[in-house]
Amino acid sequence: MSGNRSAPGWWVVLGQELRDVWLGGRGPALTFAFSLILSAVAYLVATNTALNFLEQREAVGLIVQVTVAMGGILVVIAAADAISGERDRGTLEALLLAPVPRRQIAAGKLAAALSLWPAAFLVALPYVWFLGRGVGVVGDAVVVGLLVGSLLALELGALGLVLSLFAGSNRVSLALSLFVLLGLFAPTQLSAGAQQGWAGDLMLRANPLTAGVHYVGRVLVDGHSLGRDADLLVAPAVAAVALAAVALLASGRMRLRPGGAR
C-alpha cells in the first residue's frame, strides 16, 4: 500500500490487529503451545515403540488432522476475543467512533484471527515431511491440510466472531466458542459402529468438522485421490461460506452493548 494513499478501513484494522496478535505476544504464545502439542504427538507416533502402531501414512494423516483441528482452535480463540475483548477492555467505543463501516472492522479482525492458521500449518510442515518421507504422501498432505484447514479456519473464525459480537463478556464468548467446537468434535469420539449406517454417514457428512477430518483420512490414510471423496468437502465449504456471510452481515449490528439497539 502506498505511503501517500489512504488505505481501506479493513486493511488498516487488519494491520493493527496483526501487530497486536503477533508483536503483542498472543500469536507466538499460541503457536508455541501448538508446536509443543504437535511435538508430543509426533514423538509418540514416530519413536515410541510401545505406542508406535501406526503405518507411516496413518502417522502423517494423524498429524494433519491434529494440525487442522488445532489450527481451528487457535483461530476460534482469537476470533472469539475480537469484539467482546475490545468491549471488555473499554476500547470498542473509540473504534466505533472511527468513520469505518462496522463490517470492515469485523473483516479486518477476522482476517487477523485467520493469520494463526497459516502459522500453525507452517509449524506442522517439518513434522509432515519427517513422518511422510519415502512414501510419497507429503505433497498430498500439504494440499489436503491446506484445503481442509483453510475451510475449517474460516468457518470457526466466523463462528467465533459472531459469538463475540453478541456475547455479554469475553469469557462468555470464549466459553461458547469452545463449547460449540467441542460439540462439533464429539462425533469423532463415537464408536466405529455408531459412525456407520445411513444416520452415522449423514452425521459425518453434515458436520463440517468430522467431514473435513474424514476427508483427510480418506486421502492420506486410505490413499484415495483428491477428487474421489470431494463430496466430503461440501459441508466444510458450505459452512465456511455461510458462517463468513453471517459474520459479515451480523457485524453490521456491532454495538457498544452486546445485542443492544444502535
Binding site: M1, S2, G3, N4, R5, S6, A7, G9, V12, V13, Q16, R19, D20, G24, R89, G90, T91, L92, E93, A94, L95, L96, L97, A98, P99, V100, P101, L256, G260, A261, R262
Partner: protein, 310 residues
Amino acid sequence: MAAAVVAEHVGRDYGAVCAVSDLSFEVEPGDVVGVLGRNGAGKTTSIRVLTTIVAPTRGRFAVAGVPHTRPDEIRRRIGVLPEGGGYPARQTGEEHLVYHARLHGASRAAARAAAAALLEEFGLADRARTPLHAYSLGMRRRLGIARALVNGPAVVFLDEPTLGLDPAGRRVVLDHVRAVAAGRGAAVLLSTHLLDDVEACCTRVLILHRGRTVAAGTVSEVVARAAAPRSAVVRVAPVDARRAVAILAAAPGVGAAGEALDRPGEVRVDLAADPAAALRALLDAGIAPLGLTVEGARLSDAFLEMTGAA
C-alpha cells in the same frame, strides 16, 4: 456560519428506560460548552447519541451541518474522548495516534506527521514510543484529546476529561481544551461533574436533569437566571447588631436573620429576593450598614437549584 451542533428534542430510550427525554440546544463554532448534570442525568448517553454511537429514539440533530441520518459523515467531522478513554495497553502513543489517523482516512505518511505534531503539542513527544500501560492517567487523557484531533474535527466531545486528575493535571487538560477552541476554531462539548472546570474554561453551559435540558446559555446567564442570591452577611456596628437582626428578620425578602456568634457586628441573613429591601429597612431604622457580602451567586448554586439538589 452554520451552527456546530443543533439538537432539537432529541431523546433516547433503552427499552422502557428513558435515558434522554428532551435534549435541545445549539452550539456555535469556537464555543466551549460545559455539559453538566448529576449522575444519571443523561450526559454520557447524550454524547453517545450526538457522536452517533447510539441512534436517537426521537428528535433530530445535526453536527457540523450534517444531519444525524448520515452517521458516517458525522464521524468524519468530530473528535471524541469517550468516558472510558479506550487506550489499548500494548500500543505506544505514536502507534495509537497513527492508527486512528489512518482509520480517519489519512495516508501512512500523513498519519505519522499528524501523530508527531500532536504528540509534540500535547507534551508527549518524549513518550511517543512508550506503551500506553506505562502512561499516567494525565498522559492518557492528553493522548485521548490528541486522538480526538487527528482528523481536524469541527466539533470535539470530551466526556469527563479531568476526572481523577490532580490539580496540575486538570489545569493542563483545561488549557488544552481552551486551545482546541481558540486555536482550531472547533466547538467543544465538555461533559463534567466539576463545576470549577466549567467556570474555568467554558463559554457556555448546558445543564441536564433527568434527560432534559433545563438550562442553556453563557455561564453568567445561567447563574443570573437560576441562582438568585441565597445568603448575605451584613456588617453593622457591634452595638447595633441585635437591633439589626430584629429589623432584618422582619424585612421583606429575608427568610431568617441571626447574629454571627464569633464575629461581632456581623449579621447573617437568608435571602429569598434581592437584598435591596433589607438594606433599605436598616437605613430607615437609622442603622448604617458598614458592609454587605452576598453569597451564592455561583454556578454551583444554579446547578443545585436546577437539578433539585439544593
